[in-house]
């Protein structure tokens, strides 16, 4: 994996605090207001959300930032359009707290609740994103189908086992 040169790159952490949750945190060199804006305005989200490199773009980015308002993102890569994500905003307390639902459209019955917290740490801002699945069964269903973050992140612990075993075998 290439080493990233973005500031604060080494502050990224990913944990599974419970069977139903996945938490990601990272620090940013910006105020909570700016981070919130970058994460909630379409013209900004388009610039970073799905663009792994020049071959990727965000083709749909709709955000109706109010309680009960909907959002929908679609990314596009070299192999074509990716299935969309959508959801509804549940709590908005800018910039500190944003709670919304998230559905990966191929699995419309699986709704996770995402809580996004921004806290000031000195001159920096810490982002904490926690995705919560309705049950262990649903989480496992998401995992087995190998979909985006749910899959990868919840299998984090398993990944540790797998990596360890692979290392010993090597």
């Amino acid at each position: 994996m290439p080493v990233s040169h973005a500031a604060n790159s080494d502050t990224f952490t990913l944990t599974t605090p419970s069977d139903r949750e996945i938490t990601i945190t990272r620090l940013f060199d910006a105020s909570p207001d700016l981070v919130f804006e970058a994460m909630t305005k379409p013209e900004h989200v388009r610039r970073w959300w799905g663009n792994l490199d020049d071959r990727y773009s965000v083709t749909v980015c709709e955000i109706d930032l109010k309680v009960g308002g909907a959002w929908r993102f679609v990314g596009r890569g070299p192999e074509g359009q990716f299935p969309a994500f959508n959801g509804v905003y549940r709590e908005i307390d800018a910039p500190g707290r944003l709670v919304y639902t998230e559905i990966f459209e191929p699995f419309p019955d699986v709704e996770s609740v995402v809580t996004q917290i921004l806290t000031r740490e000195g001159r920096k801002t810490r982002l904490t994103v926690t995705s919560s699945y309705p049950s262990l069964e649903v989480r496992d269903m998401v995992l087995k189908t190998g979909m985006e973050k749910g899959a990868a992140l919840s299998y984090d612990r398993l990944d540790d086992v797998a990596q360890e075993l692979a290392r010993i075998e090597r």
Partner: protein
């Protein structure tokens, strides 16, 4: 590795008994009887777990000896590790891009602050 094979591997790894069996096999090949020992489980139950592991390509079983020794195959485990690493990487790089983008936003803000009357 095809996606359904990856699902098989994940499904096979999603069980604590099977992970314990794999952990035991890391120390070397052994028989079904030896594998069953630490578990309060019937031989058919252990054999069932072994079949799941074998189908997922996580273990191989010898044909030469009558006791058909089991051994671990780390290939699919490496694939799983690489796959999950990729998704972690998506989030990591996504937030790296956000950081870089925040810096362009800050630079723009400064520029606007310097020329408040020009739109």
């Amino acid at each position: 590795m095809p996606a359904d094979q990856l699902s098989n591997t994940f499904a096979a790894l999603a069980d604590p008994t099977r992970r314990a069996i794999l952990a035991r096999l890391v120390t070397g090949e052994c028989s079904v009887t030896e594998l069953a020992e630490p578990f309060d489980m019937s031989m058919p139950a252990v054999s069932k777990h072994l079949r799941v592991l074998e189908r997922a390509g996580l273990i191989a079983r010898g044909r030469e000896a009558q006791w058909r020794p089991c051994r671990i195959d780390a290939g699919p485990l490496k694939e799983v590790a690489e796959w999950t690493e990729r998704y972690r990487h998506i989030w990591e790089s996504r937030l790296d891009r956000l950081e870089s983008y925040l810096q362009t936003m800050k630079a723009k803000e400064k520029k606007h602050a310097r020329k408040p009357r020009r739109k």
